[in-house]
């Protein structure tokens, strides 16, 4: 198998990939510690956090709405024949809602969010890095980490749970539409079925983990952008690798967080 070439012409080896992987993990860990340190250092850029939250919310609202609606719709369509086969059609609203609330809603929203936002942050900060805008901030005695990174990471951490709750609601509406296409069901019956099946406690682990996912999206995008090098090619690389890394970390952390939530609340 022919491996791609290094930018200086040498063919990459598996060792290079391994080295890059661990270098990224180390860099991300150091960047994370720097975030924790800088987040408590004034000035606190609250206006900038609000601005990013609004921008990110508006930017992703359309795509997550469509995705949420389709998740609910398809999940109900796929499950309906199976539930009918087992004579459990009455449980369909509850089954779909639980799936969406506990797992599909948070994870799919986070992955869509990563694709839209992590790449955007990576490209924006990467572009600022290669055009010396970050250096310009630094020489003006303005802390670029605080102004650019801390604000974005806080904004992604805060906005993703809100988007997730919204997506869950849209997905449940989608599932209702899928059900009534096949068989008549009053909205009141559907609503009471959902409310009986989904307890408030089901929301907590699902929505709580989206704070972690939002943090990952902001941190990875910022890390890749802030450390970008190599001109426009570097900006492109920062953008694409942030999506891949953020998505991978979301899935890894999801499995860990599910295990932790089951350990903390075994009755759920």
């Amino acid at each position: 198998m022919n491996l791609p070439r290094h930018r200086y012409g040498r063919r990459l080896t598996y060792g290079d990939y391994l080295y890059n992987f661990f270098a990224t993990l180390t860099g991300l860990t150091v960047f994370n510690l720097e975030f924790v340190k800088q987040a408590f250092i004034p000035p606190y850029e609250i206006a900038e956090v609000k601005k990013h939250m609004t921008e990110l919310g508006v930017k992703t609202l359309g795509i997550v709405s469509i995705t949420g609606f389709i998740i609910g719709l398809v999940l109900a369509m796929q499950s309906q024949p199976v539930m009918q086969r087992f004579g459990a059609s009455d449980f369909l609203p509850g089954m779909v809602s639980l799936s969406v609330v506990r797992e599909l809603g948070p994870v799919i929203t986070a992955l869509i969010f990563a694709g839209r936002v992590s790449s955007g942050i990576g490209a924006e900060l990467g572009s600022m890095r290669v055009t010396e805008q970050i250096d310009a901030m630094e020489v003006s005695a303005i802390n670029p980490f605080n102004y650019l990174v801390v604000t974005r990471v806080i904004a992604t951490t805060m906005i993703l749970p809100i988007l997730t709750v919204y997506v869950i609601m849209i997905a449940i509406i989608g599932s209702y539409l899928a059900i009534i296409i096949v068989e008549p069901m009053s909205f009141e019956y559907f609503r009471s079925s959902v409310v009986q099946s989904v307890e408030f406690g089901d929301f907590i682990p699902g929505v709580a983990k989206t704070f972690v996912f939002g943090y990952i999206v902001g941190l990875v995008g910022s890390y890749k952008g802030f450390t970008a090098e190599g001109g426009t090619e570097g900006v492109g690389r920062a953008s694409t690798t942030s999506v891949v890394l953020a998505s991978l970390l979301i899935l890894i952390f999801d499995s860990v967080l599910v295990k932790i939530s089951l350990w903390l609340w075994p009755t759920l």
Binding site: P43, E124, S127, M128, T131, E132, Q133, D135, A136, M137, E138, V139, S140, A141, I142, N143
Partner: protein, 249 residues
């Protein structure tokens, strides 16, 4: 004794195997304009970035207003930086902000006591200095190369720095705009009694601005003196370097 604003002592910097600066010792006096000449890749910009603290030298010392840069904490370094302006080669305007926001950004950060009216007045005044009042609501993407340099210059001087560092202020500009920008730099320097270090390989710019020049070659200071001495030097390399400067405005 002259008031030394910037001093480097045996400054050495390399990137992996590539030695860029070796034992560079330079002094710049108050209100003096020093031009740093050299071929592309000769370490001119690296010298500026070491002075401002964007790059760490491998060895040697840098003093700004008698503050040894390597001994300063980031907080102390930022205090020193507040008195320094830096014009980047590509102007480095914040492209998500309008010209007004670009200029008011450092004021809002460093002069918290200023009212919005005072900030607006200062922005207007500084734009007048660079003759670009009409660009106040434009985005950087709507500006030409020369306009970007002027706005970059306006942003650098808006905090009234005592020291200005210019990284290739006229590169990529036509000879007329080059002359305009160079004269602007000189006028601002005279008006505000600034000290300037200008990295360039543009003779038009150098002849207008320079009080003194140094020439970097093979990681060393190959020449130091008046600009006329430099251009009339008998050194074959320098002769060859300046013989390509054919346009005089």
């Amino acid at each position: 004794m002259a008031d030394i604003i910037v001093k480097t002592e045996n400054l050495t910097k390399s990137f992996d195997e590539l030695l860029v600066l070796k034992n560079i010792s330079v002094q710049v006096e108050r209100a003096e304009n020093l031009i740093v000449f050299g071929k592309s890749g000769s370490g001119k910009s690296v010298l500026l970035k070491c002075i401002i603290g964007l790059m760490k030298p491998d060895s040697g010392n840098i003093y700004i207003n008698n503050n040894k840069i390597s001994d300063l904490s980031i907080k102390q370094l930022n205090t020193v930086r507040k008195d320094i302006g830096f014009l980047f080669q590509g102007a480095a305007l914040y492209d998500s902000m309008t010209v007004r926001e670009n200029l008011s950004f450092p004021l809002k950060r460093h002069f918290e006591e200023m009212t919005p009216k005072e900030i607006e007045d200062k922005v207007q005044y500084t734009l007048e200095l660079v003759s670009l009042e009409e660009a106040i609501d434009k985005m950087p993407s709507e500006l030409s190369g020369g306009m970007k340099k002027r706005i970059g210059l306006a942003r650098s001087i808006i905090t009234d720095p005592a020291l200005m560092l210019y990284d290739e202020p006229t590169t990529g500009l036509d000879p007329i705009t080059t002359k305009e920008i160079s004269e602007l730099i000189l006028n601002l320097q005279k008006k505000f009694n600034m000290t300037s270090i200008v990295v360039t390989h543009d003779l038009i710019c150098a002849e207008i601005i320079a009080d003194r020049a140094i020439f970097l070659r093979d990681a060393h200071v190959a020449f130091e003196g008046k600009i006329e001495e430099l251009t009339k030097s008998g050194d074959p390399f320098l002769k060859n370097f300046f013989s390509h400067e054919i346009v005089k405005v």
